[in-house]
C-alpha cells in the first residue's frame, strides 16, 4: 500500500484511451515503478467501467479521482481529500485546450506521435502538481519560443541530410 504526503496537490495525471492504452503518465509523488503500474492498471479499469452520465469524481483508496473523457481519450487526475474537484476538472480542460491550440484540433494520434511535446506543454502548465501558469497565451508563447529556438540551430538542414539513413 502507499501512503502519501499530506499537502494539497495533484498526485498524478494519466491519459489513456478507450481501449485502456496509456498515452501519458505524470507522477507528482515518488512511487516505485511497480506501484505506478498497479495504480494505473486498477484505475484504468475503474474509470473505464463507469457509464457516460456518471459523476466525474470518485473516491479511490484514500484519494479523489477527477476524470473526463474527450473523444477517445480519458484524462484522469488524482487529488487529495480536501482538494477542489471542480477546479481540477478545469485544469484538465485547460490542458486539453492547450494541446488543441498547439496541434490544431488535437487528436489521440497527435499525442501518440508527439508525446514529448505533450509532456513539454504539461510542464509549462503544471509543475510539481501545481498550476504554474494558467494563461493560455503565456504557456503557448513559452512552447513556441522553444520551438523557434530549435529551428534556429540549423536543425532542418541536419534532418534533411539524415533522412536518408534515418528510416532504419
Amino acid at each position: 500500500m502507499f501512503s502519501l504526503i499530506s499537502s494539497f496537490q495533484m498526485q498524478f495525471m494519466l491519459l489513456f484511451s478507450r481501449q485502456g492504452k496509456l498515452r501519458l503518465q505524470k507522477w507528482y509523488v515518488p512511487l516505485s515503478d511497480k506501484e505506478k503500474k498497479k495504480i494505473t492498471r486498477e484505475l484504468v479499469q475503474t474509470v473505464l467501467a463507469r457509464k457516460p452520465k456518471m459523476c466525474s469524481f470518485l473516491e479511490w483508496r484514500d484519494l479523489k479521482i477527477v476524470y473526463k473523457r474527450y473523444a477517445s481519450l480519458y484524462f484522469c487526475c488524482a487529488i487529495e481529500d480536501q482538494d477542489n474537484e471542480l477546479i481540477t476538472l478545469e485544469i484538465i480542460h485547460r490542458y486539453v485546450e492547450l494541446l488543441d491550440k498547439y496541434f490544431g484540433s488535437v487528436c489521440e494520434l497527435d499525442i501518440i506521435f508527439n508525446f514529448e511535446k505533450a509532456y513539454f506543454i504539461l510542464d509549462e502548465f503544471l509543475l510539481g502538481g501545481e498550476a504554474q501558469e494558467t494563461s493560455k497565451k503565456n504557456v503557448l508563447k513559452a512552447i513556441e519560443q522553444a520551438d523557434l529556438l530549435q529551428e534556429s540551430f540549423d536543425e532542418q538542414l541536419h534532418s534533411v541530410l539524415t533522412t536518408v539513413t534515418d528510416t532504419l
Binding site: 500500500m1 502507499f2 501512503s3 504526503i5 499530506s6 499537502s7 494539497f8 496537490q9 515518488p30 503500474k37 452520465k53 456518471m54 459523476c55 466525474s56 469524481f57 470518485l58 473516491e59 483508496r61 484514500d62 480536501q82 477542489n84 474537484e85 471542480l86 477546479i87 476538472l89 478545469e90 485544469i91 480542460h93 496541434f103 487528436c107 501518440i112 506521435f113 508525446f115 514529448e116 511535446k117 509532456y119 510542464d123 509543475l127 510539481g128 501545481e130 498550476a131 504554474q132 501558469e133 494558467t134 494563461s135 497565451k137 503565456n138 513559452a142 519560443q145 522553444a146 520551438d147 529556438l149 530549435q150 529551428e151 536543425e155 541536419h158 534532418s159 539524415t162 534515418d166 532504419l168
Partner: protein
C-alpha cells in the same frame, strides 16, 4: 503519421511508432521492440561516436518504449550527455528522459546536478526553466542538497524573469516537500510573502502554492500573508470579467488563483484586524451573490470555474465556523445544488453539506434538506453520489430524525451496492445506538440489520448488541422474545444464530413462562440451526446449552444426550470436542450450587467507546494501516465466548474484566465514556511536519528516555501518556483531562497520518478524563515524530492544537548484551564514515552517574559494564526493530566533568539512524 509535425520531426521515431501501431499482436509488438532495443544498444556501444541528433532520437525511442510499459535499463548516460548539448531540443529531450526515468544511481545524479548547475547559471531563461522543471520533476534529496539554497535566491532576485520565478517557486515547493530540513526560508520569508503582490498573475499563481505549504508548517512566520491574500482576493472578486485578460477563464476572473487564495486563508483563523476581516466577509458575500446571478455563458467550464470558487469559499466559511449568517447562506446555496441537473454539482453539494452538518450554526439548516437527501439515496444512478447521500444522512442525524434516517438507510441496504454495504451497516448500528431512546427499537434495528445484510455485519456489530443487552436489564426480556421470533425463520443468518444463542443462553428464562417458548422449545429451535453453522458458532451454541442446563434443569437430560453423542464428544474439531466433554462432565458432577455460580449471568460490561465506532474510524483510515488492523481484529475476535481458544471454565465464569466485546481494553478512567478507540498510527515518517506548540517541545524531549508522564498541559487541558513498546510495535494510551468545570464539545483527535473524514463528537465533561489508545507499528526508521491534532470547543471558541507524539526511533530498541571484545569488534565493523555520528556538547543537566545511567537505560539499550577501558565512559548496545529491518546500534558517551562537556558517538548499521539518535540524545544530557 499525423499531419502536424511541429519543430523537429524525428523521422526515425515516427517510423518506429507507426511500426508499433501496425503490429497485429502483442508478440509482434514485443518482437519489434526487442529489435529496436538491440539496435539502439549497438549504436550506443558502437565505436562510431554518435552525433547529438542521433542520440536524441534513440533516447526518445527508449522513452517511448518505456511509456508502452516496458522496462528500460540503459541509455541514462546518453540522456545525461544530452543535457550538456548546446542545442535546445537535445537538452530538452535529455531532461525529459531524466524526469520520466529517474534513477537513483548516485554516479549519474552527480552528473545531472552538474548539468543543472550550468543551466541555472547560464542566465538564459529558457535553459533555467528546463533545469528547474527537472528539479521539480525529480525532487530527490540529492537535488535538494545541491540546490535548496540557490533557488530562493533566484526566486526573489529583482532581475529574474517572470517565467523563471514561476518555475523557481514550484521547484522550491517540491524540494520543501521532499526535504523540509534543507529548505531554509529565513531571510527570504518576507520577500516570498510579498510575491502575492506581484504584478504578474502567473507569478502570484505559482508563488501562492509555495506560500500555502510554508504557512501550514510555519504559520507564525508567514502570517502577514493573510492581509495580502485578502486584498488580492478582493481585487479579483470585484474585477469585471474582462479586466484580467488572459487570466479570465470563461468569464470567470482568475479562478485558479482565487481558489488558491481561499485555500491559503484556510491555514489561518479569521483575521483579527477588523478592516481585513470586513473586507474578507465582503468577498465571501460577493462570491455567494454571484452564485445567484444568471450565468454569463452556457458553457460548463463557466459554471465549473465559478462554482469551484464558491465551494472553496464555503470551505473557508466552514473553517471559520463563526459567521452564522454566512453558514446559513452557504447551506441554502448547497440546498439548491442538491437538485441541480449536473451530477457533479449534486455530488459536491452532498459532500460539502456533510461538513456543514457538524457546525452548530448550520446543523438545523442542513436538516431541512432531509427529504431531498433521502430521495438522492433512493434515486441517484451513480453509486458514488448515493454514497455521499448516505454519508450526509449519517452526518445530519440527531435524536429528532434518527428513526426516520435509520429506517431509510435500512431500506436502502436491501438494494445497496456491495461495495458500500459494510460501511452502511456500521453506520446504521452506530446511529441506532447513539440515538436510541428506547432500547427495544435498538434491538429491532440491529436484528433487522442482520436479517437484511447479515454477511456484512461484522463481529463488532453483534458483539455490541450483546454488550448493550447485557448492560440494560430493561431490554433483556424484549431481546429474548425478539431473537426467539427471528430464529423461527426457516433460513436465518448465522450471525442471527450467534446473537440468538448468546441471548437465549443468558436470558431465555425471561420468556420461558410462555408455553410457546418453553425451555425445550427454545433449545430445539437453537439446536435445529446447529448443523448448519460454522465451528465458532457451534462452540458458542454449546456454551449456550450448558447455560440452559443451569437455567432450566428440566432440559438437562436432553442436552446431556446431545453432548454425549459421537458427533459432539468425538468431534474432529478439538475445541468442540473439548467443550462437549467438559460441559458434559460439569453438568454431571457439579452440584446445583456450583453450577449456578459457574454459569452465572454475565456481569455488565464496563462502559467504553463503542467498538463499532472504532471500526468505522478504522475503515476510514489510510490504506497504509489496513493490514495491521485486520490482524488486530482477528486476534481480538478470538476473545469472544464463542471464539476458538477459550476453555470451558473461562467461558462459564467470566471475570468482570474479561474483554469480551470491546475491541480495545484498558482500565476505564474517570466517569466519562472513553473516546476515540484505537487508531493505528503509521509511523512511517515522510509525512512529518515540524510545527508544534512551542510549550510542548520541552515536555516532548523528556519522553525520549521515558514512556510515561504528562505530554502537554495548559489552563484547559492536560494530556498524559502511558506507553509500552515491544519489538517494532507499540501501544500508547493517551489521557485527555478536562481541567475546567465546563464541558468540551466536539472533541476530536486526529493522528496526522490517519485521514479521518467523519468527525466523532464526544463531549468531555468538566473535570472528566477520557482515554484513547493508539497502536503503533514502526515500518522503517524515521526522524519526524507523528503529530496529533486535537480540536474541541470550549465555551464558544474552537481550540485547535497540534502536538508531536513522543514516538522516537529509540522506542523500538531491543537491548543487546555483549562482551568487551564483541563490542569493539562490532565497533570496528561499523567504520564507514557515514555510519558514525558524533557530537560534542555542553552538559545541560546533572552529570551524576546514577542519573546518567537511568537515562541510558530509559533509552532502551543495554548499558554495558566493563567494556570501555575508561570507567568514566558509558557504552550501550541495542538493536532497533522496524518492520522491514533491524538496525544494530552502538553508543559511547564520554563525559568530561571538569569541562562540563560530553562527547557522544553513535555507530549504527544504518547511517540515518546514527544521525537521528545523535540529534535526539544530544539534548538529553
Amino acid at each position: 503519421m499525423p499531419a502536424v509535425s511541429k519543430g523537429d520531426g524525428m523521422r526515425g521515431l515516427a517510423v518506429f511508432i507507426s511500426d508499433i501501431r501496425n503490429c497485429k499482436s502483442k508478440e509482434a509488438e514485443i518482437k519489434r521492440i526487442n529489435k529496436e532495443l538491440a539496435n539502439i544498444r549497438s549504436k550506443f556501444k558502437g565505436d562510431k561516436a554518435l552525433d547529438g541528433y542521433s542520440k536524441k532520437k534513440y533516447v526518445c525511442k527508449l522513452l517511448f518504449i518505456f511509456l508502452l510499459g516496458h522496462d528500460i535499463d540503459f541509455g541514462h548516460m546518453e540522456a545525461v550527455n544530452l543535457l550538456s548539448s548546446n542545442k535546445y531540443t537535445e537538452k530538452q529531450i535529455g531532461y525529459l528522459f531524466i524526469s520520466v526515468l529517474v534513477n537513483s544511481n548516485s554516479e549519474l545524479i552527480r552528473l545531472i546536478n552538474n548539468a543543472i548547475k550550468n543551466d541555472l547559471s547560464s542566465r538564459n531563461p529558457t535553459f533555467m526553466c528546463l533545469a528547474l522543471h527537472c528539479i521539480a520533476n525529480v525532487g530527490s534529496r540529492e537535488m535538494a542538497e545541491a540546490f535548496a539554497s540557490e533557488i530562493p535566491r533566484i526566486l526573489v532576485a529583482g532581475d529574474t524573469m517572470d517565467s523563471v520565478k514561476q518555475s523557481a517557486a514550484l521547484c522550491l515547493l517540491r524540494l520543501y516537500k521532499t526535504s523540509p530540513d534543507l529548505v531554509l526560508m529565513g531571510e527570504w520569508t518576507s520577500r516570498v510573502v510579498h510575491l502575492l503582490n506581484d504584478q504578474h498573475m502567473g507569478v502570484v499563481t505559482a508563488a501562492i502554492s509555495l506560500i500555502t505549504c510554508l504557512s501550514q508548517k510555519n504559520p507564525d512566520e508567514f502570517k502577514t500573508c493573510v492581509s495580502l491574500a485578502v486584498s488580492r482576493l478582493s481585487r479579483i472578486v470585484s474585477s469585471a470579467s474582462t479586466d484580467l485578460q488572459d487570466y479570465t477563464y470563461y468569464f470567470v476572473p482568475a479562478p485558479w488563483l482565487s481558489c488558491k487564495l481561499l485555500r491559503l486563508l484556510q491555514c489561518y483563523p479569521p483575521p483579527e484586524d477588523g478592516a481585513v476581516k470586513g473586507r474578507l466577509v465582503e468577498c465571501l458575500e460577493t462570491i455567494l451573490n454571484k452564485a445567484q446571478e444568471p450565468p454569463k455563458s452556457k458553457k460548463v467550464q463557466h459554471s465549473n470555474a465559478k462554482n469551484a470558487i464558491l465551494f472553496e469559499a464555503i470551505s473557508l466559511i466552514i473553517h471559520y465556523d463563526s459567521e452564522p449568517n454566512l453558514l446559513v447562506r452557504a447551506c441554502n446555496q448547497l440546498g439548491q445544488f442538491l437538485q441541480h441537473r449536473e451530477t457533479n454539482l449534486r455530488y459536491l453539494a452532498l459532500e460539502s453539506m456533510c461538513t456543514l452538518a457538524s457546525s452548530e450554526f448550520s446543523h438545523e439548516a442542513v436538516k431541512t434538506h432531509i427529504e431531498t437527501v433521502i430521495n438522492a439515496l433512493k434515486t441517484e444512478r451513480d453509486v458514488s453520489v448515493r454514497q455521499r447521500a448516505a454519508d450526509l444522512l449519517y452526518a445530519m442525524c440527531d435524536r429528532s430524525n434518527a428513526k426516520q434516517i435509520v429506517a431509510e438507510m435500512l431500506s436502502y441496504l436491501e438494494t445497496a451496492d456491495y461495495s458500500i454495504r459494510e460501511e452502511m451497516v456500521l453506520k446504521v448500528a452506530i446511529l441506532a445506538e447513539k440515538y436510541a431512546v428506547d432500547y427495544s427499537w435498538y434491538v429491532d434495528t440491529i436484528l433487522n440489520l442482520i436479517r437484511i445484510a447479515g454477511d456484512y455485519v461484522s463481529e463488532e456489530v453483534w458483539y455490541r448488541v450483546i454488550q448493550i443487552v447485557i448492560n440494560r436489564d430493561d431490554v433483556q426480556g424484549y431481546a429474548a422474545k425478539t431473537v426467539f421470533e427471528a430464529l423461527q425463520a426457516p433460513a436465518c443468518h448465522e450471525n442471527m444464530v450467534k446473537v440468538g444463542g448468546y441471548i437465549l443462553g443468558e436470558f431465555g428464562n425471561l420468556i420461558a413462562g410462555d408455553p410457546r417458548s418453553s425451555p425445550l422449545v427454545q433449545f430445539n429451535l437453537l439446536h435445529s440451526k446447529f448443523h448448519l453453522c460454522s465451528v465458532p458458532t457451534r462452540a458458542l451454541l454449546l456454551s449456550a446449552y450448558i447455560k440452559f442446563i443451569n437455567l432450566f434443569p428440566e432440559t438437562k437430560a436432553t442436552i446431556q444426550e446431545v453432548l454425549r453423542c459421537d458427533s459432539q464428544i468425538r468431534n474432529s474439531d478439538v475445541e468442540l470436542q473439548q467443550r462437549a466433554v467438559e460441559y458434559l462432565k460439569l453438568s454431571s458432577i457439579a452440584s446445583t450450587d456450583v453450577l449456578a455460580t459457574v454459569l452465572e449471568e454475565m456481569p455488565p460490561f464496563p462502559e467504553r467507546e463503542s467498538s463499532i465506532l472504532a471500526k468505522l474510524k478504522k475503515k476510514k483510515g489510510p490504506g497504509a494501516v489496513s493490514v495491521t488492523e485486520l490482524e488486530d481484529s482477528k486476534r481480538e475476535g478470538g476473545e469472544l465466548n464463542g471464539g476458538g481458544d477459550r476453555g470451558p471454565d473461562t467461558a462459564s465464569t467470566p471475570s468482570p474484566s474479561a474483554d469480551l466485546l470491546g475491541i480495545r481494553s484498558a482500565a476505564p478512567v474517570g466517569a466519562a465514556p472513553a473516546s476515540a478507540g484505537s487508531l493505528l498510527v503509521d509511523v512511517f515518517s515522510e509525512a512529518g511536519t515540524t510545527t508544534t506548540l512551542p510549550s510542548s517541545s520541552l515536555f516532548w524531549l523528556l519522553f525520549v528516555c521515558k514512556n510515561n508522564g504528562v505530554l502537554f498541559e495548559n489552563q484547559l487541558l492536560q494530556i498524559g501518556i502511558k506507553s509500552e513498546y515491544r519489538q517494532n510495535l507499540g501501544r500508547m494510551y493517551l489521557f485527555y483531562g478536562n481541567k475546567t468545570s465546563v464541558q468540551f464539545a466536539s472533541f476530536t483527535t486526529t493522528p496526522q497520518l490517519n485521514v479521518q473524514t467523519k468527525p466523532v463528537e464526544p463531549l468531555v465533561e468538566g473535570g472528566a478524563q477520557i482515554q484513547q489508545v493508539l497502536n503503533i507499528e514502526c515500518l522503517t526508521d524515521f526522524s519526524d515524530a507523528p503529530l496529533l491534532n486535537i480540536k474541541f470547543r470550549y465555551g464558544g471558541a474552537l481550540q485547535n492544537l497540534t502536538l508531536k507524539l513522543p514516538v522516537t526511533i529509540n522506542k523500538f530498541f531491543q537491548p543487546t548484551e555483549m562482551t568487551s571484545s564483541d563490542f569493539f569488534q562490532r565497533w570496528k565493523q561499523l567504520s564507514q564514515p557515514q555510519q558514525e555520528a558524533q557530537k560534542i556538547f555542553k552538559a545541560n543537566h546533572s552529570m551524576d552517574t546514577e542519573v546518567l545511567k537511568a537515562k541510558l537505560l530509559g533509552l532502551g539499550t543495554a548499558l554495558l559494564d566493563n567494556v570501555d577501558p575508561n570507567p568514566e565512559n558509558y557504552v550501550c548496545a541495542g538493536v532497533i526493530q522496524t518492520k522491514g529491518q533491524q538496525v544494530g546500534c552502538l553508543l559511547r558517551l564520554e563525559p568530561n566533568a571538569q569541562a562540563q562537556m560530553y562527547r557522544l558517538t553513535l555507530r549504527c548499521s544504518k547511517d540515518s539512524v546514527s544521525r537521528r539518535l545523535c540529534e535526539l540524545l544530544a539534548e538529553q544530557f
